[in-house]
């Protein structure tokens, strides 16, 4: 009973106090949470420091064992030069590969010839901070560093929807 009360108290507290926060977020987007991870070369990355000179950023969570993730990123790879020319967008592919498969990341991106920034979220810190359930999961960040769109899963054609959202930001 005691623990139920705690749970209720917390839920009520969160619900009550977060109403405003979520209202703000809906109109302005929320900031990218700050977590310290590494890029594929082992350099330290503070996620909240991501920037693209005021142009949009796509954050795409993926793994070397996830076929739809690779399909999405390979599809965008073919469109990427056009996307960059038209909107200046940058894509950051965040690998959630763990110790078993993380050594596969660099060979894979090299052989696929991706031009993306590649980050390694081996401990899942960034994934948890953004509330990602499953991969693939894609976030769109505007020029002010606010998350304005997010999408779970990938089926062919979803890249067009993502691009429409990117275009909206650069109008």
């Amino acid at each position: 009973m005691k623990k139920l009360l705690y749970a209720l108290a917390i839920t009520a507290g969160i619900g009550f106090s977060f109403a405003n926060v979520i209202n703000d977020q809906d109109t302005e987007g929320k900031a990218v949470p700050s977590v310290t991870i590494a890029d594929v070369e082992g350099n330290v990355i503070k996620t909240s420091d991501m920037s693209n000179n005021g142009d949009p950023i796509v954050i795409s969570f993926w793994a070397t064992w996830c076929k739809p993730c690779k399909l999405e990123l390979n599809t965008i790879h073919e469109l990427y030069p056009d996307w960059q020319d038209e909107t200046g967008v940058k894509l950051i592919a965040v690998s959630i590969d763990n110790e078993r498969t993380k050594n596969m990341v660099k060979p894979y991106i090299n052989s696929a010839a991706w031009d993306y920034d590649i980050w390694m979220d081996v401990n899942g810190d960034f994934k948890r901070a953004l509330g990602v359930n499953n991969v693939p999961h894609t976030f769109l960040v505007d020029g002010n560093g606010k998350i304005v769109y997010s999408h779970s899963g990938y089926v062919p054609g979803d890249e067009e929807i993502l691009y429409e959202h990117i275009l909206e930001l650069t109008k």
Partner: protein, 561 residues
């Protein structure tokens, strides 16, 4: 084994912190910037039916559910998070030690550029994780979150130091987390030499070294044995990169840790992993080696099974996703000891060539072998020192634990059609990793997969898979057919059937038909599935997760906010 209940006072603490943070923003006492909330909710509901033919058994309740809600709150340098969990009761195949509704995870954290301090629950990994890795694989019910305190310190660029003290999550019983009896203490540090030493700044060789020390304290004693109360493991690691080459590795030594798992022997243990590779555009070669001996390192020496492993021993085999390759004979690391090697080769046959075709052809070859380590008799008196054997790292015997050869060829035929063909050859030692009661010793199998994906137009696409598994042992031959139709951005529908058509016992030639239907709206997904399903990694409609064996109706919902 007597896990401690620990949740009351931290709960009050968390509530306090939440309200402190809320009131701080509400009254604008601090200028901490805008708060932000993120998180997710996941619900899996099943209505289960028994089907003894496929060993699916519905519980008395028939309807079962797992639900999770994660909420993270960030305000300036502060972060706090909580996860509520509910199992009423847990879904099919999920461990029974998850039950009830309650708080499964909570933390508060303070972060600056140089410092991070966490109190409550956290996930952590030292180096490659051989000595310490607390992590969560929710789909299969694995969660050994630490509960205690952690400090991360970065005194200057290139130097990282972490310290942790805590207990590990053991189970979630009737809505209450029970933590391990043992306390884990650890410190880890690494140095990026190129950042720290200015004369290496422009060196083309990038080097990083690191080390850690992890210790478990557990009281208690045994009628006949004097048990070490503090058990330590220490590790060293390195990471070298030169242009397109890299090599990295870690060695962990664990002092004697008599446990239920190892039969209370007083041997030391070790774990070693080395990875090396070369990659360039269109070509990659990777070689990995692993040696493990007596590496049951748990937060409680009396516990067996999957829980409370302090260190992580990655399986050195490819993470297969095609259903028959992933689910029938999956290899898992053997903590008592193994020597394993793996080779990966990625090659792209150039586009525009005769063999490569208009768009090029991708070939991925993978070979993995795992052996029993070579063990020698000791000269000492076992009754006195309880040292059961001696051995050396990477000293393998010729007793095979597992062999996996696989090759995958991918080719884009035209703008809309992609074909994939894959072949797998497994020699699986069922005596070491028992996955079936129907066979003893080696099970040799060959698997063939054909996968075709066709984009009908901008929004509609269809994908079909045909898979066959051929073996003379165990349950005989299998076939799988799958068709998946997707309409971007919202809909997908898929049907599949697995058939054990080659089972030597005609009565067991079962079919596993399974259909699913889903709807995605931005970061939310609904899915309804009906049918029979085998356990394994399951990818459908664009998302991969691990699922247990079921028979019945499954409804799932996930959302991220």
């Amino acid at each position: 084994m007597n896990p401690n209940r620990t949740y009351c006072s931290p709960t009050i603490f968390i509530v306090g912190c939440f309200f402190f943070l809320m009131s701080a923003t509400a009254f604008g006492q601090f200028d901490l910037g805008k708060p932000s909330v993120s998180g997710n909710i996941e619900t899996i509901f099943q209505y289960l039916q028994s089907d003894s033919a496929i060993n699916a058994f519905a519980p008395e309740q028939k309807a079962v559910m797992n639900t999770y809600a994660n909420i993270n709150y960030t305000l300036g340098h502060f972060r706090a998070g909580i996860r509520l969990e509910s199992y009423l009761p847990s879904v099919a195949g999920y461990p029974a030690f998850y039950s009830g509704t309650g708080i499964g995870y909570r933390f508060v954290e303070y972060n600056t550029d140089k410092l991070s301090a966490t109190v409550g629950n956290f996930f952590e990994q030292f180096g490659s994780g051989l000595a310490l890795r607390s992590y969560e694989e929710r789909a299969i019910g694995l969660d050994n979150a630490m509960d205690g305190a952690r400090i991360k310190f970065r005194p200057m660029p290139g130097i990282n130091v972490k310290g942790v003290i805590g207990k590990m999550r053991y189970n979630f019983n009737d809505g209450v987390v029970n933590n391990s009896d043992g306390i884990i203490r650890g410190i880890d540090g690494d140095i990026a030499l190129n950042d720290v030493f200015s004369f290496l700044k422009d060196s083309p060789i990038k080097a990083k070294i690191g080390a850690n020390f992890v210790s478990r304290y557990q009281g208690g004693s045994n009628d006949t044995l004097v048990l070490p109360k503090n058990v330590a493991a220490y590790s060293g690691r390195f990471d070298l990169r030169y242009k397109d080459f890299y090599i990295n590795g870690e060695y962990t030594h664990k002092i004697n840790d008599p446990s239920e798992n190892n039969g209370y022997i007083y041997n030391n243990g070790h774990g070693a992993i080395v990875n090396m590779g070369y990659s360039q555009k269109g070509l990659a070669v990777l070689l990995s080696a692993k040696s493990i001996d007596n590496m049951f390192f748990r937060a409680d020496r009396t516990v067996t099974g999957n829980q409370l492993m302090i260190g992580f021993l990655p399986a050195l085999t490819k993470n297969h996703t095609y259903n028959l390759a992933a689910t029938l004979y999956p290899y898992a690391s053997v903590p008592s000891g193994e020597v394993a090697y793996q080779l990966d080769l990625l090659y792209k046959i150039k586009r525009g060539t005769k063999i490569g075709g208009k768009y090029g052809t991708d070939i991925n070859l993978n070979i993995a072998t795992v052996f029993n380590p070579l063990r020698h008799d000791t000269e000492g008196d076992y009754d006195k020192d309880r040292i059961a054997y001696t051995g050396l790292p990477f000293d393998k015997s010729d007793s095979l634990y597992h062999f996996d050869f696989n090759v995958e060829v991918k080719r884009k035929i035209n703008k809309n059609l992609k074909l994939t063909a894959a072949y797998f050859h497994f020699i699986f030692n069922n005596n070491v990793n028992e996955v079936t009661k129907d066979a003893k010793g080696y099970v040799t199998s060959d698997i063939v997969v054909l996968d075709a994906a066709y984009k009908i137009n901008k929004k509609h696409s269809i994908r079909a898979e045909v898979q066959g598994l051929f073996t003379k042992k165990d349950k005989g031959n299998w076939a799988t057919f799958l068709v998946e139709y997707t309409v971007s951005p919202h809909w997908f529908v898929a049907v599949m059937n697995q058939s054990n058509y080659g089972n030597p016992d005609e009565a067991k030639r079962q079919n596993y038909p399974f259909g699913s239907f889903g709807y995605t709206l931005n970061a939310s997904r609904f899915m309804i599935s009906y049918g029979k399903q085998r356990a394994g990694i399951f990818c459908i409609g664009g998302v991969c997760r691990e699922v247990p064996a079921t028979n019945g109706l499954t409804f799932s919902f996930t959302t991220t906010f």
